[in-house]
């Protein structure tokens, strides 16, 4: 009896492997066919979504959001969708992080099979290949515990979780200070911003239930600025966004109801002028503390994108986006010139 069951299990495993192989073969065949411009078989409902030349969430948020919106619209169960990346000439790490989070979001993909073409530009192609992107789009992947292989690309690391992970925040900062100062040291400003973001995702990404959404974090080497080394951090969650998770009261609520831009709301939130939705006076200090760290010059070039608002605090620019971003994105830099360090280890 036991032998029979074992045999059945083995048989099932063999079949699953065969099935996975067959699906992979079919995906690769379709990707090649679509790229060669050959007509697809009528039985395949494949769609092509063309990516913009420049993929950067900080510099071109609307181009990237438009690309995601086009992708979202064609995603249907079992449908094959090809991301045409051939003409992409540059891709920033923040955009790549966002793209990878979208491609592993089951709600976003709705069961569609995503394929991706390789960019013609060798540098961009190399970035995508090293990031593990093609391992995700052109292969059957598991969206379970560790969807993205933790690999280095351009000295970057990507991590994700649903809870606040202080040790991880410290580890990514140590990685940054090794590059910036040649030694491990603490950066209390950056540590605070990262923790506040993680906590924000924990409570605000889905206000009804804590720790249901995942945050993603990446740190990477930035370009030299006036001869000084930089290290960039990008954090993202695909929750409901900050502005959708707060309860507005008073004149802010009236402005929102009248359809005024939400840029004011984010500005007020960062200035600590919006009460927490809990109604408790001791809450709602996370976002203002991010701005405070920026004002203290312990972090630099702070950008926040949430819902339909884009905020560049370095330039004090708050813009309304035509295409909303459901989620929250925070970007900031550490610069070697400023030593916001506390203690050397």
């Amino acid at each position: 009896m036991k032998g029979k069951r074992q045999k059945a299990v083995l048989h099932q495993q063999k079949r699953s492997k065969k099935e996975a192989k067959r699906k992979l073969k079919r995906k690769n065949w379709l990707a090649k066919r679509l790229l060669m411009g050959l007509p697809k078989r009528p039985s395949f409902a494949a769609y092509i979504v063309k990516a913009p030349q420049v993929l950067s969430f900080i510099n071109e948020p609307e181009l990237l959001l438009d690309f995601f919106e086009n992708l979202r619209l064609v995603c249907k169960p079992k449908r094959y969708v090809l991301l045409d990346l051939e003409d992409v000439t540059s891709i920033s790490n923040d955009a790549l992080l966002l793209l990878l989070t979208k491609l592993q979001n089951r709600n976003f993909l709705k069961g569609a099979n995503i394929l991706g073409s390789r960019p013609k530009c060798p540098k961009t192609r190399e970035i995508l290949e090293n990031s593990g992107f093609f391992g995700i789009v052109n292969h059957k992947f598991d969206t379970g515990t560790n969807p993205i292989p933790v690999s280095n690309f351009m000295l970057a690391q990507r991590k994700h979780s649903k809870k606040v992970q202080p040790e991880l925040a410290q580890a990514v900062i140590h990685e940054a200070t090794k590059h910036l100062y040649g030694k491990v040291c603490e950066q209390p400003g950056a540590f605070r911003v990262i923790e506040e973001f993680m906590a924000n995702t924990c409570w605000h990404a889905n206000p009804n239930e804590p720790a249901t959404e995942r945050w993603w974090l990446t740190g990477f080497q930035g370009p030299l600025k006036d001869g000084f080394k930089t290290w960039c951090f990008a954090l993202v969650d695909n929750g409901v966004g900050i502005l959708e998770s707060i309860e507005l009261k008073g004149w802010l609520s009236a402005m929102d109801w009248l359809g005024f831009s939400k840029t004011n709301i984010l500005e007020n939130l960062l200035n600590g002028k919006v009460e927490s939705r809990t109604g408790l006076k001791n809450r709602g200090k996370g976002l203002p503390s991010m701005k405070r760290e920026f004002n203290r010059k312990r972090i630099f070039n702070l950008h926040i994108i949430t819902n339909n608002v884009y905020a560049n605090l370095a330039k004090n620019v708050y813009l309304t986006l035509n295409i909303p971003f459901s989620g929250t994105f925070v970007y900031f830099e550490l610069i070697s010139q400023s030593n916001g360090k506390t203690s050397d280890l």
Binding site: A169, A199, C202, P210, N282, S343
Partner: protein, 119 residues
């Protein structure tokens, strides 16, 4: 001069403090309050010594951690059986050390003051 007892957060609690509640992650401010700060503070008041909290040597502190711990000390927490401590009494028996981060003492003072004002 009153006797001083030094408590080093990085050594006796964690070098990587978390945020407000244990639901959000490890090493939370509420955990620090209920297991470390509050019992030691009560002892300091009863035995008439100064509790010196050394905040140095950690990766940093989230605002929610500081608020939950030091604001919570003044506010108290009925659910955890922690009675509110008078702000002046707490200040008399509490001393903070923060050479690494010059802003911490000021922030903690702010959270304690806010917690002393009834909602």
């Amino acid at each position: 001069m009153e006797k001083q007892v030094i408590y080093k957060v990085a050594k006796e609690f964690t070098p990587t403090p978390g945020v407000r509640s244990p639901k959000e992650g490890n090493f939370s401010g509420e955990e620090f309050l209920s297991k470390h700060l509050y019992p030691k503070m009560v002892q300091a008041i009863e035995e008439k010594f100064t509790l010196v909290i050394d905040l140095d040597g950690t990766a940093g502190y989230a605002t929610s951690f500081l608020e939950a711990a030091f604001g919570g000390l003044i506010r108290g927490c009925e659910a955890d059986g922690l009675k509110a401590i008078d702000l002046n009494v707490a200040k008399k028996h509490l001393k903070l050390i923060s050479h690494d981060d010059p802003y911490l003492e000021e922030e903690i003072e702010e959270y304690m003051q806010e917690a002393a004002v009834p909602a």
